[in-house]
Subunit: 347 residues, 2 copies
């Protein structure tokens, strides 16, 4: 065991603060990383404040982790000390169920092990995430990253990137498809970049007029102000696919009605209130309303390789870890373009 | 024009009663049918009583029509006097939009013309349905039927049959798939027969214990009493596909949670209340919630041919048209196995 500096929330109502954690001795297939950057995901805030009601304190958030390998177990073949590497939202799964065998570890039938706030499968304790100096994980859950992209901009790909890449790929978004991206935040800005790179005609759907310029700069071909009822109406039956990245409660029907026949709307954000959907809004054009959760390990690697090949990264604001609590407040106000990333050298 | 006996609702609160209607002179591509049987669909009742708020009185319901051709227009090639033929839920569409060109006339971008309670495209009036002695329609919206099956049992295929066939085909239900059919009524009993014939393992989902024997007789392999919480729990993440035929308000989440990863639940019934769906129930297993509306003309013909080849028909109770109002009351109580069909010789 090694003692490692970290930042933790000790309760739902106290700030995130310095905290020492233990990282396990390396098992034969383990990789130990020095964490260089860790992205700040809205899930970190939900968990720190127990907004999903399942937080085990103290919790060390962070699942957008990039770093450098400092040590590997005896049997590790994929990594050696000095390599760049990354860890995303999960660090283990049963590896035996049908989903794991198909590379869908995120849907592991026996429960995937999240990078933080999860029980280790061997009963050895609770996982601690990337707001820390080091992390240890099985090599099968460690990703390779390119040295050609700035590491701080790569970090958010591990959650915001894969969460948007996976549904766009699963539903085969490609050249000529009309795609709407709902919400321009950490997820939405990656959704725009990725969908544009796949050749889709991309429309940013937002209720904030000031986001139009940014959406266009990110590559969006169109901008639809969702408070403009006439313009919304003019886009009824328009989209093949809508990616809904919004976590705040909202009316899904406005967007469902913009789907053409056989259109699909996929939500990756989970508001606190259920969606209220009249069946007719689906029936009349054979529309689908679906959900998608991050991505499997193989697909996450595919996404990282794709982003390296196409020079796609996240727009970030690098912060000192002592400013983490302030960054949460700014994130709640949408005051970030588009992801905070902690420079772990500041810890 | 020819005057034809029919039954109509003249208001939302009066019984369906005898009424004479005019059928148009045959245009070059028109087919005139003598109606032999007409199925009684729940939509007939919704429309007669203006439960969807769009009824134009007087309304002659009925869109599960089988009959015999008595006359054809000069240019009709597909039919001749004496042929058996059928008409389903739609009698026209724009034929020019992308959906029409793809054989998805039911999703016509310019509005398909329903068999009753719809405006004719040429402005000549309102369509009247199958509770009548004769009907006239363009040959492209007339279907061929086999003389090998009893006509009264074929009639409900025109709505209940295609409404369940189309989503089962569109989502490629096939051998080995685990399929749940929710609700054992006119639609549900066709869903069971069709899904079984496609090779699926079929489970009837019902809150009525007494329906178990019937479900098994129809071919269902399993029966799940949906009020048994333990059994429901044991089928979490079980189904590839669920066809939801229920028109009464119900909790969709019980069934969504029974879908395995990538599972799809399709609703073909439209309750008066919206579905309330927490996004997490879709996100956690990449589930889809979709809708489907009847089927296009080519697919309806495919379904009729398939049913003839596989000896699949509806279980019906044949009624005298003077008992139509009583049959509505019995339908509301679920007191029909599984479709009323009017013998039009009684008119």
């Amino acid at each position: 065991m090694s003692t490692v500096k970290a930042y933790a929330a000790k309760s739902a109502t106290t700030p995130i603060e310095p905290f020492n954690i233990e990282r396990r001795e390396l098992k034969p297939h383990d990789v130990q990383l020095e964490i260089l950057y860790c992205g700040v995901c809205h899930s970190d805030l939900h968990t720190a404040r127990n907004e999903w009601g399942n937080t085990m304190y103290p919790v060390v958030p962070g699942h957008e982790i990039v770093g450098r390998v400092i040590k590997v177990g005896n049997h590790v073949k994929k990594y050696k000390a000095g390599d760049l590497a990354a860890i995303g939202c999960l660090v283990d799964s049963c590896r035996e169920c049908d989903n794991c065998k198909e590379g869908l570890e995120q849907y592991c039938s026996n429960g995937m092990v999240g990078t933080y706030n999860a029980h280790e499968r061997d009963g050895s304790g609770i996982t601690y995430g990337g707001y820390s100096k080091q992390i240890v994980a099985h090599e099968d859950f460690v990703l390779k990253i390119s040295d050609k992209l700035p590491l701080e901009n790569v970090a958010p790909l591990l959650c915001a990137g894969i969460t948007t890449y996976s549904p766009l790929r699963h539903w085969k978004v490609s050249k000529g498809d009309k795609v709407g991206i709902l919400g321009l935040g950490g997820l939405g800005h990656m959704g725009v970049k990725l969908a544009v790179s796949f050749g889709a005609e991309v429309t940013m759907l937002s209720h904030t007029p000031s986001k139009e310029a940014d959406a266009k700069r990110l590559g969006a071909h169109k901008f639809l102000l969702t408070t403009d009822k006439e313009k919304v109406k003019s886009m009824h039956n328009y989209f093949d696919f809508i990616l809904d990245t919004v976590s705040a409660p909202h009316d899904y029907n406005i967007y469902l009605n913009m789907l053409k026949t056989n259109g699909v709307m996929v939500c990756v954000g989970a508001p606190s209130e259920p969606a209220h959907i009249p069946a007719f809004n689906l029936i009349m054009q054979r529309r689908s309303f679906a959900g998608s959760l991050i991505g499997g390990i193989a697909e996450t690697q595919e996404m990282l390789d794709y982003c390296a090949a196409h020079n796609i990264t996240s727009d970030v604001e690098v912060i000192n870890i002592k400013d983490i609590n302030e960054s949460y407040e700014r994130m709640l106000k949408g005051d970030v373009r588009y992801r905070f990333v902690i420079d772990m050298a500041t810890l």
